[in-house]
């Protein structure tokens, strides 16, 4: 049974349709990349899956032991966060607060935060201020926070935007490790089509033409080969 199934989704704002006929499903252990041109509706899709926005039509169903608030979310950073006075530990712990109705963190939450900080190699920064860290380190803090919220599905929104190539590669390998070793299902919205086809097991292409299938099928399909060529030539 799939962890997440979207059928005939219609997405948009206040009656204005951005995207329709969205059909895809995510199984445990999948690594799904959501690609498409700018303005094709990738972020609207993501917000709808997260429940931040209501779909205009169609259905989103959760299954395989996943509830609708069990998607760990790695948002793009906002300007407000860049100068927010908070330590790494405070931020990672805040990922735990949806887990129970309790108001204060107990031993279990603190242990979970420590464990996830270790996993993301940020234990040495625990008492440091978030705004003093580099972009890659900040992303790892937010990833550790998302892992505190859930171990089942992670939804990553452009996780490598603004990072230099070396840090980007490190970020991708951390994500791959989570997917392979901890069986965390990954859903990633990405501009980086090259990385998408080399890491992902499934691709969802949104826009005028829709595509959903395995990465191999995507390479073979018209839309995939065209998009890959286009992006590849832009890069050169």
């Amino acid at each position: 049974m799939a962890q997440l199934t979207c059928e005939n989704l219609v997405l948009g704002y206040e009656g204005h349709v951005v995207l329709e006929n969205v059909n895809f499903s995510v199984e445990k252990g999948d690594y799904l990349c959501i690609v498409g041109e700018n303005g094709s509706g990738k972020s609207t899709l993501m917000k709808t899956v997260l429940g931040l926005q209501k779909p205009l039509g169609g259905s989103i169903a959760f299954g395989d032991g996943v509830k609708n608030n069990e998607i760990g979310y790695l948002p793009q950073q906002t300007q407000a966060q860049r100068d927010f006075p908070a330590t790494v530990e405070e931020i990672v712990l805040s990922g735990c607060q949806g887990r129970s109705g309790r108001l204060f963190y107990g031993k279990a939450e603190k242990a979970l935060a420590r464990e996830n900080m270790e996993k993301m190699h940020i234990t040495q920064f625990a008492k440091r201020c978030y705004r003093e860290l580099s972009g890659g380190q900040q992303q790892r803090v937010l990833l550790a926070r998302a892992l505190c919220a859930t171990r089942k599905i992670l939804l990553l929104d452009e996780p490598v935007s603004g990072l230099d190539p070396k840090v980007t590669a490190e970020m991708y390998s951390l994500i791959e490790q989570l997917n392979r070793e901890d069986q965390v299902t990954i859903m990633m919205v990405s501009h980086d089509i090259g990385a998408a086809v080399s890491y992902a097991t499934k691709i969802l292409h949104v826009g005028h033409t829709m595509f959903f299938g395995t990465t191999e099928e995507y390479r073979q399909a018209d839309i995939g080969s065209r998009f890959l060529q286009l992006e590849g030539s832009e890069r050169k």
Partner: protein, 284 residues
């Protein structure tokens, strides 16, 4: 100079000054805690807009023949309503936050002055307006109802802040993440809005409508110069605020200056000192 200290000592013996010090400390404490949230949420101007609402509401209360001691019963609900309107979840894109604040703020000023000039409660209109805007000494004339109301409400604000500290942090740092992980963000925003209204109404007694923003913004801004964690920023701004307000009240007694502006002047001086320390630290 010795007159100044003698004055202060003499005033310290007076029960109305003691009341003012207690109420002043509590109001500063609660406003500084809320200030941290507002500054970090980039909502500093909400405090300013709401304080103008308290001006209009006070004007309305005064023509309803409510005395200064029980006008809170009218002012508080009106301010709360406006706070909830401004901070309500799912604000439509047609009314952007900053424009809505500006609208409410100027409307309140205009209506307030209109009401006061059409239905004057005394012969001295400009003095009435000045008292409401700058709270000229009203903290030194508190009735016991006002004292108890202020103490009760400030304690409630501090308790709410401590109890919901972790939730407030999560909602302030990253609203969308908090919502996806199952926090009832809308409910907490409503709570924050109501608490803001309470604090602004309380602070009106201390510094008057126009200077309320200072009580909210200065402590948080100063603390953020020196401290790096949310917890230390909260604690430092609470201490900063209480110390400055107490100093301000004492100085105003000794030098017979208006209480509100003296408190804000102390805030400014200490803020500049914090800035200097942080600049020196960065160079070192």
């Amino acid at each position: 100079m010795s007159d100044f200290f003698e004055n202060i000592l003499m005033f310290l013996g007076e029960s109305y000054v003691q009341k003012a010090l207690i109420v002043g400390a509590l109001i500063s404490l609660s406003s500084s805690l809320l200030g941290v949230i507002l500054v970090l949420k980039h909502f500093s101007f909400i405090g300013d807009g709401l304080s103008r609402v308290t001006f209009a509401a006070t004007a309305v209360a005064s023509i309803m023949n409510l005395t200064a001691s029980n006008n809170m019963l009218v002012v508080l609900p009106i301010t709360m309503l406006c706070a909830i309107l401004l901070l309500r979840p799912g604000q439509s894109s047609k009314m952007r936050g900053d424009a809505a604040i500006a609208l409410i703020s100027v409307s309140a000023m205009a209506v307030g002055y209109l009401v006061l000039s059409k239905f004057p409660t005394s012969n001295n209109l400009s003095k009435d307006v000045c008292t409401t805007l700058f709270g000229s000494g009203s903290i030194l004339m508190l009735s016991s109802l006002q004292v108890w109301l202020s103490v009760g409400l400030s304690v409630a604000v501090v308790v709410i802040f401590v109890l919901f500290y972790n939730k407030i942090f999560a909602v302030t740092f990253d609203e969308s993440f908090a919502r996806t992980s199952g926090t009832r963000v809308a409910a907490y925003n409503l709570l924050i809005a109501s608490v803001i209204a309470i604090i602004i109404v309380l602070a009106m007694n201390l510094v008057g409508s126009l200077l309320i923003s200072a009580l909210i913004i200065f402590p948080a801004m100063s603390a953020m110069r020196l401290f790096k964690s949310f917890r230390s920023v909260s604690i430092c701004s609470a201490v900063f605020s209480v110390v400055c307000s107490l100093l301000g009240i004492l100085i105003s007694c000794g030098a017979s200056t208006p209480v509100g502006s003296t408190i804000v002047a102390v805030d400014i001086v200490v803020f500049l000192a914090f800035c200097a320390v942080s600049a020196v630290r960065r160079k070192a």
